[in-house]
Each structure stands twice: as C-alpha cells, then as structure tokens.
C-alpha cells in the first residue's frame, strides 16, 4: 500500500536555527500515529510544514502520492489534510455554531454562493449542531467563541476539524489546557473517530500514557530530528529513546 502522507528530508531553518531537520516520514492510510517529544522539539513546526502554514527550506511533502510542497494551506485542506491548532485558533466574535458552520460549509464545497438564501443551506447548521454535540458543546452553540472557557475552545477546535471530514487529521495537543475531568471525554471522541476506521490521524500529545493504547505508531522528535519511529511497545523498550527522551529530559510542565 502507498503511504497517504509522506515527507522526505523535511527541513526548515530560521536563520541558523533548524526546528525541524531532515525528517522523513511514511504514514500509512487509516493508521493512528502519535508524535511525542519535549517542549520545543519541533512537533508543532512539523505540523505547520505538513499543513502549509510554513514552507520548508528543504525537502518535500506528498499527500496521496501528490507533491503538495508548494500548495497553499487552503488547497491542502481541500485535498484532504485538516488540522487543529495547539494555540486555540477560532473566530472570536462569531458564535460557536457559526464557527463550526463555516467549517461544514467548506467541507460541502460551497465557496462562492453570493446571493443564496440562508434557508437553502440550513442543513449546514444541523450538521454543525450534531458536531457540537459530539464534542459536548451543544449547550454553548449560541455563545460567542471568545466567551468560552479555555477547555471549551479546545473542544470547538476539534469540532471544526471534524466538520472538515478530511481523510488526514492533524491534532496538535487537543487536550492541552483542559481540566482533568474533561480530558477523557475528548479522548473518547478521538477514539471513536479512530474506530470508524476511515481516517488517518496524527496526534501530538504530552499525556502519553493516555494515547499509547490507541496508537499504531509512535514518532519521537528530539531537537528537530526524528529520533525513532516504531510501534509503541518497541519505543518503550528502546534504550535510545529511554535515555534521550523518557529519562529525565521529558519536561511535563506543559
């Protein structure tokens, strides 16, 4: 089988600093890959390179065999690569419902409908409400996004990503900043998507013990380099990873 997402020698330099260096990846369809690494290892930067927020200094990215290295963010999304953001990134002065509705509309490919009556697209709203209920945010549909608590914004972020129904999902620390009681319900949402079996998921998560159980593969990033890529069992056994990452260097502060 052909990998759905592939990179080769992916590198980005900011001056002399290279937060991501020579990363080559093969992500197979319908797998669940978790990316771990200490703060500043380059995990978010790697996502930015995959989704197009940043352009690599060197290296290439392929999605479903197509070279997407030079495509815009919007085009990558349309090709089936969706992401959520570590730092909450929503539309603050719009309602929660409208935030998700915009994502549903994008998924439906309704881009240039200049004078259509809102009634014509009422089903977008219905779908958005369903998604809000999935992430347990149904009660907040009419609030403005900026008035949500931090954990709720994280859920909104996930609902917007789910709405896109992309084949590949990049999740950047979806549970960061959520209260401990909220985390299991969100992990449950992620587990459910995995179980549907038609998505390829890449997840950055510091709460490793929680994601280990449903990861097919584990990537370890360290100082911008790909330190190891293997099954969770093998990674946990690997001496290199143990000393470099799991032993002591791991900063659990965030």
């Amino acid at each position: 089988m052909q990998p759905i997402l592939q990179t080769e020698g992916l590198t980005i330099a900011f001056g002399g600093h290279k937060p991501v260096q020579d990363v080559s990846l093969n992500v197979m369809p319908h797998t669940f890959t978790s990316i771990i690494g200490p703060n500043g290892a380059g995990k978010t930067t790697l996502f930015n390179l995959l989704s197009g927020q940043l352009k690599p200094t060197e290296g290439k990215v392929w999605l479903k065999g197509k070279d997407i290295t030079h495509l815009s963010v919007a085009k990558r999304t349309r090709l089936g690569l969706g992401r959520s953001f570590q730092i909450t990134n929503v539309f603050p002065s719009l309602t929660v419902l409208e935030n998700v509705r915009l994502a549903v509309q994008a998924q439906a490919g309704v881009y240039y409908s200049l004078f259509a009556s809102p009634k014509k697209h009422a089903h977008f709203e219905k779908r958005a409400i369903e998604l809000l209920e999935t992430v347990l945010l149904g009660a907040k549909a009419d609030s403005l996004a900026k008035n949500l608590a931090h954990g709720e914004k994280r859920k909104l972020e996930i609902a917007m990503l789910l709405a896109l129904e992309t084949e590949v999902l990049l999740l950047d620390e979806p549970t960061a900043g959520m209260s401990l009681e909220e985390v299991p319900s969100i992990l449950e949402v992620i587990r459910r998507i995995k179980e549907e079996g038609n998505r390829t998921i890449l997840l950055i998560e510091h709460k490793m013990d929680m994601v280990l159980s449903f990861s097919d593969r584990l990537l370890v990033l360290f100082n911008g380099r790909l330190l190891a890529e293997d099954t969770p069992e093998n990674i946990m056994k690997s001496e290199l990873v143990q000393t470099a990452y799991l032993g002591g260097l791991y900063d659990d502060a965030s």
Partner: protein
C-alpha cells in the same frame, strides 16, 4: 420563539420607518429637506458599500471615493455628451457597473495581497490618481471647475427623485443584506475574524477579498451616479479624500458590520452637517464642521466603538437578560 419574535418586531420597525419615509414628501413642503433626505439615502448606499469592506471583511481602504467618483463622472459625461434621456442614464449605469467592476477587480488583485496598512496607503494613492486624471483630462471633465448637465425629465421633479433614491437605498440594502447573509458573505466575516484560520478551512482568501472589493466597488459606483443626478453637477470633489472619510465616519458612528448602522450614520452625519451649516450664520466656528466631526469621531471611537447599532444591541441583550 424568542428569535422569531425579535425578528418580527424589527421587521415591524423597519416597515414603520419606510412608511414614514414614503409619507414624508406629502407632509413636508420644504424643498431643502427633500433634497437633504435624498442625499441621505444616496450616501447611505455609499456608506453601506464601505461597510462591506470595513465592517464585514475587515479591510481598511482610504480610496473608496474612487468608485463614487467614477460613478458620478460616468453618469455626468453620458448625460452631458450623449443626451439627457432616461435611456442614456440607464446605459450610464451599465457603464458604471462595468468600469467600477474592472477597477475594483484590479484593486482587489493588486493590492489585497498587501498587508493592511500598505493596502490602505495604496488605495489612497490610486484615488489620488483618479483625482489628478479628472483634473487634467479637461476636454471631457472640464477640470476642477466641473460642469453642469441636464438630467432625465422623470428625475427632474424633486419628489420623484426622492422616491427613486429611497427605492435605490431599500433595494441596495436588501441586496447587500442578502449578500452578507449568504455563504460567501459569512466567509468574509470569518476573514475579518481570523484570516489564517479561514484559509485553513479551505477558503482561498484572495478570491473572497476580490469579491468583497467588487461588491463594494459596484455599489459605491451606483451611489456616485445617483449623487451626480441629485446635484446635476459634477467636479473633482467626488474623488476627494473627504468623501471616503465621510463613509468611514458614517459607518463607524452607525455601527460597523451591520449595514443598518451605515444608513443611520448617513442620516446622522448629514443632518448634523446641515444643522451646523445653519448655525454658521450665527458664528463662524460652526462653519468648520470638520472640527465637530473630528470630535464626534474621537468620542465615538472612545465610548461607542460598536456604534449606535452596537450600543442598541448591547442594551437589548442586557434587557433580555435582566
């Protein structure tokens, strides 16, 4: 339930205001008042077109007058050079749509790739170019003196012109409202809120900025045509930065991103302006009306950044809660 009731009530209010406006010419016999109202309607459309940029898409333009001016000159030149029939006027409107469509498209493509302050400066410069063009192309424009022209008989009567302008405003309001409520209009608001996030949902930002630029440009062009008709005269003032600043002021005072606010703002600014001009007979200070508007502007930005409509909505929200 709440929502439909609220909607019903605001519809009721709009209906009432429209009825009052329709009745106005039959009650008032002041020619001046009729002309003032006509200008309010026309400026309201210009301010609404500016609101599409500023309030809905979050684009600041300092050159919006260029579309107003293109509209005014095109209609004036058609009526002056060809004949002053209704047909000539209607054809001039078509020409205005074509011209402003092309210019606003080019502005959209050329400048919307720029960061916002560069865009603002560039629009200012381009509007300045149009002003210079109108001054120098004397054969056609008669330079900065401008020229007078005849208008179609149908529009000569101040009362009929009043109704045409009122209908113009109402139709443009509903068209623009429909546009801002449409799927594309919603994306504009998303861009205003968070451009980068909008793109990551799969929307191609540049296309939307071009659409916003064109809708605003077309509407502004039409308002310019109507403006020329009310004056029966055109000169380079229609390209002036003052014209853009008026729209900015009206939109901000009325409430950005509401369309309705632009109409209120237009009424308020033009009424205050007329009032101050009357007071100028008492003391010269009132002639410097820009001083007053500057002051109003600063106060509005400091105390009612949401404008009149925004303030009203806040009150209503509190009322509904309490």
């Amino acid at each position: 339930m709440m929502l439909t009731r609220r909607l019903a009530s605001s519809r009721w209010w709009i209906g009432l205001v429209v009825l009052l406006l329709i009745g106005f010419p039959f009650v008032s016999d002041s020619r001046g008042a009729l002309i003032l109202m006509t200008q309010i309607f026309i400026y309201a459309v210009f301010a609404m077109s500016y609101d599409i940029l500023l309030g809905y898409t979050g684009i600041i333009s300092f050159g919006h007058a260029m579309f107003f001016g293109i509209g005014a000159y095109t209609t004036a030149i058609f009526l002056h050079r060809w004949d002053h029939s209704l047909l000539s006027f209607l054809v001039s409107l078509l020409a205005v749509l074509v011209l402003t469509g092309i210019v606003s498209y080019l502005i959209g493509v050329m400048t919307l790739r720029l960061k916002s302050h560069f865009y603002a400066m560039l629009t200012l410069a381009i509007a300045g170019l149009f002003l210079v063009l109108a001054e120098k192309w004397r054969d056609v424009t008669k330079g900065s003196d401008g020229f007078t022209f005849y208008i179609p008989d149908l529009l000569k009567d101040r009362t009929s012109l009043y109704f045409v302008a009122l209908a113009f405003m109402i139709i443009m309001f509903f068209l623009l409202k429909r546009f801002t409520d449409s799927p594309t209009g919603k994306v504009l608001q998303a861009i205003r809120e968070n451009e980068q996030r909008t793109e990551s949902l799969g929307y191609q930002i540049l296309h939307y900025k071009i659409i916003a630029s064109m809708v605003a440009g077309l509407a502004a062009g039409l308002s310019g045509s109507m403006y020329a008709i009310t004056l029966r005269f055109v000169n380079t003032a229609v390209f002036g930065t003052n014209v853009t600043l008026d729209a900015l002021l009206m939109t901000i005072i009325g409430g950005v991103g509401t369309l309705f606010g632009s109409m209120l703002g237009s009424a308020l600014i033009l009424l205050v302006h007329a009032g101050l001009t009357d007071l100028a007979k008492i003391h010269w200070i009132f002639e410097r009306w820009m001083i007053f508007f500057g002051a109003i502007y600063i106060l509005a930005v400091m105390f009612f950044p949401q404008g009149i409509v925004g303030m009203f909505r806040q009150w209503r929200a509190k009322w509904n809660k309490g």
